[in-house]
Assembly symmetry: C2
Homo-oligomer: 218 residues x 2
């Protein structure tokens, strides 16, 4: 008599298993990997390219770019001299561990210290899918407004660092930093934050120094 096999696929558990395998690949190559998440247009790609500059060669960095369509971001990263792979998700609102796994063979991992994985611009879906990176970083941009922690709590809870981008726009938009930080503190007490402007360069060195510490200390 045949065994009964459950056909219910546990998608999340399959994703977590594959994320674990990705982590092993990163670890074996000695690569520290970061999942970078944000709204559309928070400035992820520009921030990544400016991170390369602020590192002044202290880390060898590569990027995996996630978008529904186009290779605009990978093209920009490659133009800046970064090893870059573009993932197109089709309609999916987030990267998952399978997509990252498929991208890894195209990355020269043995020659890298750090891989930044730029997720699809979205404050909801990416929070639920582990990719196998070592930490999650959220970029919140000033023009998005100060109420985002309250409205997208899942995203703010699931990250190990928060970059506050486009601080050069603070004089031109309403943004109550105390209200914003209060929301962050409720959801993720003690979260390390990096206020930056990719435009003026403000804060980028502090972020880059922290990044070097994370990679060397892993």
């Amino acid at each position: 008599m045949p065994q009964r096999i459950s056909i219910v696929e546990d998608i999340m558990s399959a994703n977590d298993r594959l994320a674990g395998e990705n982590r092993e690949v990163f670890d074996k190559a000695g690569v520290f990997a970061i999942n970078i998440m944000a709204s559309p247009g928070a400035g992820k790609t520009t921030f990544i390219i400016k991170t390369l500059e602020a590192l002044h060669g202290r880390l060898r960095m590569g990027v995996i770019e996630g978008d529904l369509a186009t290779s605009i971001d990978a093209d920009k990263a490659a133009a800046a001299g970064l090893p870059a792979v573009q993932i197109n998700t089709g309609g999916d609102c987030h990267l998952d561990a399978v997509m990252v796994s498929n991208a890894l063979p195209a990355m020269p991992l043995d020659n890298l210290d750090l891989v930044l994985v730029e997720n699809v611009g979205n404050l909801v879906c990416p929070a639920s899918f582990a990719l196998g990176t070592h930490i999650n970083v959220l970029i919140a941009s000033i023009p998005e407004g100060d109420d985002k922690p309250y409205k997208y709590p899942g995203m703010y809870r699931g990250v190990q660092a928060l970059v506050i981008s486009k601080i050069d726009l603070l004089p031109y938009v309403p943004f109550n930093m105390d209200y914003f930080r209060h929301g962050v503190e409720i959801l993720n007490p003690g979260l390390v934050t990096f206020p930056v402007s990719a435009k003026t360069g403000e804060g980028m060195e502090v972020w880059a120094d922290w990044l070097v510490e994370q990679v060397k200390g892993k």
Copy 2:
């Protein structure tokens, strides 16, 4: 012998059916309804409140606010004098027809001409779920950048009007309007667009006039 019943639920078809029922409710009450979609922080709520002002009483307007959590947006709308209902989706990245259906009894539809439904801030998920509104409007904010049509084509394809918000920030951020408009035109030829600044009021009257035409002409 019992009939065999398929247990496969066609979620999208169920949503479309219920969206049709919502439309009937709107039509019976003589209400024109708009599904407003955008990234997190594109300025949807502020735009809605400024729309009320620009209408100068020409239309009786109400709002249904969609967010993962909090009633921040409905509170703001109510404070501005608008009949407002808040939907909290829990973890869901979009409104659907069931949620809107559940919100409708709380709206004084017989005393309204126009209902704006503010979807969850997201450029992916909301595009796939009809709500029963008459048209979809996308708000794209200047600080999000000029490449969004290329990266989120599904959203740009599925709307009947495009509001370009925060144009007061144009002097402070890189944004190539020709490149942006070219992307829009490829995906949605002839799409009507409304460049606005809720801050300065620029463009709001043109939008409000168009809105009155749509409602009176339906």
